[in-house]
Amino acid sequence: MRSADVLIVGGGIVGAACAREYARQGLSVAVVERAALGGGATAASMGHLLVVDAEDGGDASEFQLSQRSLRLWQDWLDESPAHAELAEHERCGTLWIAADAEELALAERKCAWLTARGLPAELLDAAALARLEPQLRPGLAGALRVAGDARVYPPKVAAAWLQQAKVQLIRGEVTAIDGASLRLADGRTLWGAMVVLCAGLASQRFLPPGCLLPKKGQLAITQRAPAAVSHQLVELGYIKKAHLAHEDTVSFNVQPRPGGQLLIGSSRQVGRSDAPLDLAMLRRMLQCAAGYLPGLPELSLLRCWSGIRPASADGQPLIGAHPELARVWLATGHEGLGITTSLASAELLADLSLGRAPALSPAPYAPARFVA
């Protein structure tokens, strides 16, 4: 017996976005999840919704996907005023902080790149930056302000999308996938017209070797800060570091949460998929943050946690047909951008799997690139 038109493996932000999109197309959707909905990488993340430019380290297809996705986020927010509240959405904007003249030159290039594409971006000199965020240390060179970027709380969004999709939730662990059926650990078999694999890093189990790799990250959150910051603050070195393939890195990335708590990121350890906190990395990360926000060490940390970014071997997500299995579709490997790019990924996958003309060019994300 058919369990649903579409069987989705994984109830993270990507699975939830796909569930919503297929449901909008009038299909019945079942989501198989072995743990908490919105739990995996989705719960560990920062929830920064950001446009990615292709200047210095970025990539044109990352820009396309993030840009399209932000449009779709806005459409969802426009559907109902309740959505923004539920998502804890706030258009805080991003300040890309330039520590020196070299980084300021990068800020200028990014600013020109974004404004050439009609996106609101402005360059701030040292004085303007200090006025806007007086908690930052003196002596910074300036910043690029991208006012349209925002922040959400991803687990709640995933839950809302799954609810909107009226999915049938199936608790269990998928152990085998063949064409249109799924086998669960407890012996059940589920049938659908198609299977959509959104299991984050664990998708690797059902893929040719070497498609996905883990990139561990750690975050910390403070008590409510008496003098908080108002933008998501990111050091301009971030993108450069994020793309360093074989090195452990920390970068300054601080986000204002509702009520004035500060979410402090971030670290990146390639190939690590263990959960325990790495205290040495955490210390490096906090020292890095305190280097930009000297008041930070005054605050107590309420929690620290780790999460694993599901990265692909070449940095682009896998969105499209499974390279080997018929009627199996993939949306995974979003690394550090899955919250931002979830909606455009879902739209693209639905376009491809339902035979519609895709809104985005699918080539950069085609999973077949890994089976040359």
Binding site: Q223, P258, G259, S300
Partner: protein
Amino acid sequence: MKIIINGIEAEVPAGVTVAAALAHAGHGATRRSLSGQPRQAFCGMGVCQECRVRIDGQPERLACMSLAVEGMLVETLA
């Protein structure tokens, strides 16, 4: 032993934590959440952070991890 909770003297057993002292003196809540809900000690072992109070002027101290001492000033709902 006496401590002062929100300006009012309270007689509490010697050797207890501030969280226990608050409970003994009939204080349900230690703080309020952003939405105004009362919160109180939950885990009793320094993990949940719900028991934060001001102790001798210092904010955000964990009541469950602090021993009550004679004359201590404890302020809740800070």
